[in-house]
């Protein structure tokens, strides 16, 4: 067993910030008396704090809640809400609700999947995480994407391409 105090420490955060997050996670677990059946709540908190669930973080949670690692891993991979990979610098969600779908959401998703990553994952260069959502409640603006939490309406593939160009995301690769 490894003595993991700093669970997954992205270089960009200072040691203090890491401490802070670890402390907050600890508090969440102690609030639930380290009960195994609080696993989902604890995973939620961990994901909010760290942005994703690294193997080290999952192991630590398993150890603290006295659960088998495979069970924790199984739960974390079951729910789409959780991600086991670091998030990209930007998160782009395409609304796949009925209105957006009819107005061409699939075309937008195709652009993202071709240039960045499959829905649910992050581009290899770590710039963009792609996701889909079921109706964000802005059907009047269809098709909608949520760009870093901001809702953009009536998006065209051209506009999306332009935004990706601005991030210097590699030009459209050949289909395949």
């Amino acid at each position: 067993m490894s003595a993991q105090t700093s669970v997954n420490s992205p270089e960009r955060s200072s040691g203090q910030a890491v401490d802070q997050r670890a402390k907050m996670l600890e508090r969440a677990m102690s609030r639930h008396h380290y009960a195994g059946d609080a696993l989902l709540e604890v995973l939620h908190t961990a994901q909010e704090l760290y942005g994703y669930l690294s193997p080290g973080l999952l192991r630590e949670i398993a150890r603290k809640l006295r659960l088998p690692p495979s069970h924790v891993y199984g739960v974390a991979t079951f729910y789409h809400f959780f991600t086991l990979q670091p998030r990209g610098e930007h998160t782009v969600m395409v609304c796949m609700g009925t209105a957006c779908y009819v107005k061409g959401a699939l075309g937008l998703l195709e652009v993202l999947e071709r240039r960045c990553a499959r829905a649910g994952s992050t581009s290899p260069d770590g710039k963009v995480s792609v996701g889909t959502a079921r109706c964000v409640g802005a059907c009047g603006l269809a098709p909608v994407i949520v760009w870093d939490g901001e809702i953009l309406g009536r998006v065209t593939p051209q506009e999306l391409n332009r935004r990706l160009d601005a991030l210097a995301v590699a030009e459209v690769r050949d289909d395949g």
């Binding site: 067993m1 999952l58 495979s70 891993y73 199984g74 079951f78």
Partner: protein, 238 residues
């Protein structure tokens, strides 16, 4: 302990309250097909092969999970059940890559036997041909995901009998996979005790001993009854 009397396939049988239809049937020599049930560990109702008809019930019931009730009239071998079971086996075959001719378990595989018994001579649905790996990282055993039917026998025996809980199921739906610890190579697992119980209960050639070639893998799960009886009754019966 109260005793329940019921009818299975026209025969009057008795079982203890809380016993499953499956167990009572088997105790009376009535064989219900199954892939996920194995005596000595809990039931989860994963495979649905043990589905039976119960008079007055609107739906089919999984015999392994349904406790016997007084006066129940159960049928285990109707044409309708046979049709369902056959389709279930075909779906299992189509879901991954079951190639008997190169499998260590060929000739003594529970899935293969069931397919033969149900007369599955071809599969009516499209094969998915998923690209799945084989984990040969363990010193003594191998896991071929292509042959796994996700019955979770290995998960339960490891948790309930060995107590290690090395295995679990990751992902969801069609992406479900048996995983060791944090989804890592089996050989790296810190929890695995290499006891081999999972290998012995696996109904197919998914879990196997290294060094076995086509048709050479025989599974023996008598140890289960031995250990469970010893634990519960403090009697060591071979």
């Amino acid at each position: 302990m109260s005793i329940k009397t019921l009818t299975i396939d026209g025969r009057m049988v008795t079982g203890a309250a809380g016993e499953s239809i499956f167990d009572v049937a088997w105790n009376n020599g009535i064989r219900i097909p199954r892939l996920c049930h194995v005596g000595g560990i809990s039931d989860v109702g994963a495979c649905r092969l043990c589905l039976v008809e119960i008079e007055g019930w609107p739906k089919l019931a999984a015999a392994c999970l349904t406790p016997v009730e007084e006066g129940m009239v159960v049928r285990t071998q109707t044409e309708r059940l046979r049709r369902h079971r056959k389709l279930i086996v075909e779906l299992l075959l189509a879901e991954r890559n079951h190639v008997c001719s190169v499998c260590v378990q060929n000739g003594h595989c529970e899935l293969q036997d069931l397919a033969a018994e149900l007369g599955v001579d071809h599969v009516r649905v499209y094969y998915r041909f998923p690209r799945l790996g084989v984990d040969m990282s363990h010193e003594r055993f191998g896991l071929d995901h292509n042959r796994c039917i996700l019955c979770t026998r290995c998960v339960r025996v490891c948790d309930e009998v060995e107590g290690a809980h090395t295995w679990d199921v990751a992902g969801r739906g069609v992406n479900c996979m048996i995983v060791a610890d944090m989804g890592e190579p089996w050989g790296n697992s810190e929890t695995c005790t290499s006891c081999g119980k999972c290998v012995q209960v696996c109904p197919t050639g998914a879990l196997f001993e290294k060094g076995k070639t086509v048709g050479e893998m025989y599974k023996d799960r008598r140890f289960l009854k031995y250990i469970v009886t010893a634990r519960e009754k403090r009697q060591w019966i071979r």
